[in-house]
Amino acid sequence: MADSKRINKEDTGRLLDEWSKEFSVSVPSRENGMPAMLPWDGKDTSFLEWYRNTVIPPKANFFPPYEKMFDFQKGAEGYHLELPPSDKQKQLIFGIRPCDARALTILDTVFQDTYQDPYYLSRRANTVLVGLGCTNPYDSCFCTSLGISPGESTDVDLMFTDTGDGFFIEPVSDKGRELLAATGGLEDGLEADEARAKDVKEAAYRKITRRIDTGDIQQRLAACFENQDYWEKVAAKCVSCGICTFLCPTCYCFDINDELSQDEGTRFRSWDSCSFPIYTRMPMENPRQEKWRRVRQKVCHKYWFYPVNLDITACTGCGRCIRLCPVNWDITQTLNNLPASS
């Protein structure tokens, strides 16, 4: 392949070093066993051994669990508002999985819809995504049902494929092509590497066995929307925590809150979840007080409302909501068991 490159695995640290000169580089890292995309410490490449995917999805690098929106201060002349200094530092995320990269493409749609979300979009514009194809997906993964191949991505700038001793590197976007051209010390990709990479990608694809039936899914959800018995049944064991939504790479709901001390303070935004009753609670009523309505909203939003509004399904099949759920609530079962429309 014309633009492709190759690198031996033991040179990964050197490559990250080089990129660190221009970028703030994040790699899969573990804090007390909990993997997330965190700033590289300049040494540790052990993630190449253990990394399958992160618990905290990379959306957090663009849309963090909480962030300051602005500060305010009351003075003699009235209120003075101040935005946080805009982060001009260029970021590079190394090792993002194809599902999570697709999730960012999905999030781009809502954060750009009509009004531009400056916090998310500025980080997005400043970031290079270096994808790493899966070789060992989890049993909870079902990305292939959402049109994603675990070894391939059109949503990254550069794509790495594990060929055993090294990586086969393919540019995906112009940004990636430029970065690759500017990166020294890489050998040109060989035909043998490309062939090996193709095998690896295909093998990864075959490893995904969990599936959902996406055919007519909007129609099937619409037909089932008023079926309270079904939603009550699937919602029964849900404990209404925020795990499946907070750790979903495509969930973007947020809350806005102020903090005040004397005459100054800060407005924050923070992750919020449709699983929480308070999320829709109004003084006089709550349209989703009952758990089955909230579970129905979560499922319908991802596979029906979001695609109707923004033309893309808000799920990547990353499987986090299944694997991290404390009661093993499984969205694939909910979708696959939808009663046939009568």
Partner: protein
């Protein structure tokens, strides 16, 4: 970055950054409701700001938070802007504590507003309950200021008790306007009440405005809306002829934060004004 001089620019750059506005007048409407008159601190913005009846804003009390209210004044009366607040929670309590001269934040205008152009040449039936008159009031004054463009005007307005009637000065003005057929009702009167008694949907049914070449615009508590649509249908209004403006818990006001949807429709992004045809599929189960 200072905001004193570049407030407008910044606000445009970052949609979440409010404009600073100053409270100019406070009107006690009912024991729990006030109308606040305000103007932007930035003079240029004061001149350039435009909106449509039915649009809403996000109002900040800094340090307490933001809440959503429609602009209750008419775009045709641009001396100042108005919104009405019922005291129900943290932010509304804080808004009630503001004085004339206090500063607050405003983001907006957001939402679609009423399809005024499509109302031209039609008979207009306004049905409102309680503080639900606030968004319709913006539209009604707009229509009155452009009276020639519209045909007959019917207004049916009700509240739980005489003390709960909002905008009494408007009710008087419209009642005295011979080009308007105004009906005011209360669920239950008191000793001094000489007007009509009865729930809004029933009074509407008795008033029986014709559906011919008409549109009905409804706003009030959800229970009133739910009972009003069937009455309108009985009177011959089609779902396309009925409009309402909805209220949901909101944070961002611009289609990002998630919570205000009814089915695939977001009250902030696709509303708050909807025809009954748009929402009737979801109304029984989510509203």
């Amino acid at each position: 970055m200072t905001t004193d001089v570049s407030q407008r620019f910044l606000a445009r750059d970052n949609v979440y950054l409010p404009h600073i506005a100053v409270i100019e007048k406070i009107i006690d409407e009912t024991p729990g409701v006030v109308t606040l008159h305000f103007n932007f601190k930035d003079e240029k913005l004061r001149e350039e700001f435009t909106f449509k009846p039915g649009q809403f804003g996000e109002y900040s009390v800094f340090g307490i938070g933001e809440a959503t209210f429609c602009i209750s004044s008419s775009p045709t009366r641009r001396d100042h802007l108005e919104f009405a607040v019922q005291r129900v929670g943290k932010v509304t309590n804080a808004l009630h504590r503001l004085d004339v001269g206090s500063e607050m934040g405003f983001r907006g205008p957001y939402g679609n507003g009423f399809p005024l152009d499509s109302f031209a040449g039609k008979n207009l039936v306004f049905v409102a309950g309680g503080i639900g008159l606030a968004p319709l009031r913006s539209l009604i004054w707009n229509v009155i200021d452009d009276r020639d463009k519209y045909e007959k005007i019917d207004i049916v307005y009700g509240a739980r008790s005489p003390a709960d009637l909002c905008f009494k000065y408007d009710l008087d003005a419209w009642g005295n306007d011979s080009s308007i057929n105004m009906v005011t009702t209360v669920d239950k009167g008191d000793a001094s009440w000489t007007g009509r008694e009865g729930f809004v949907p029933q009074v509407l049914e008795q008033a029986a405005p014709s559906a011919r070449n008409a549109v009905a615009i409804v706003c009030g508590p959800p229970i009133m809306i739910r009972f009003t649509f069937p009455v309108l249908e009985k009177l011959g209004f089609t779902p396309e002829q009925m409009f309402t403006t909805l209220e949901k818990r909101m944070k961002c006001g611009i289609g990002k934060c998630g919570r205000c949807n009814i089915g695939n429709l977001y009250v902030c992004r696709d509303g708050p004004v909807f025809s009954f045809a748009q929402i009737k599929g979801f109304i029984s189960s989510e509203y």
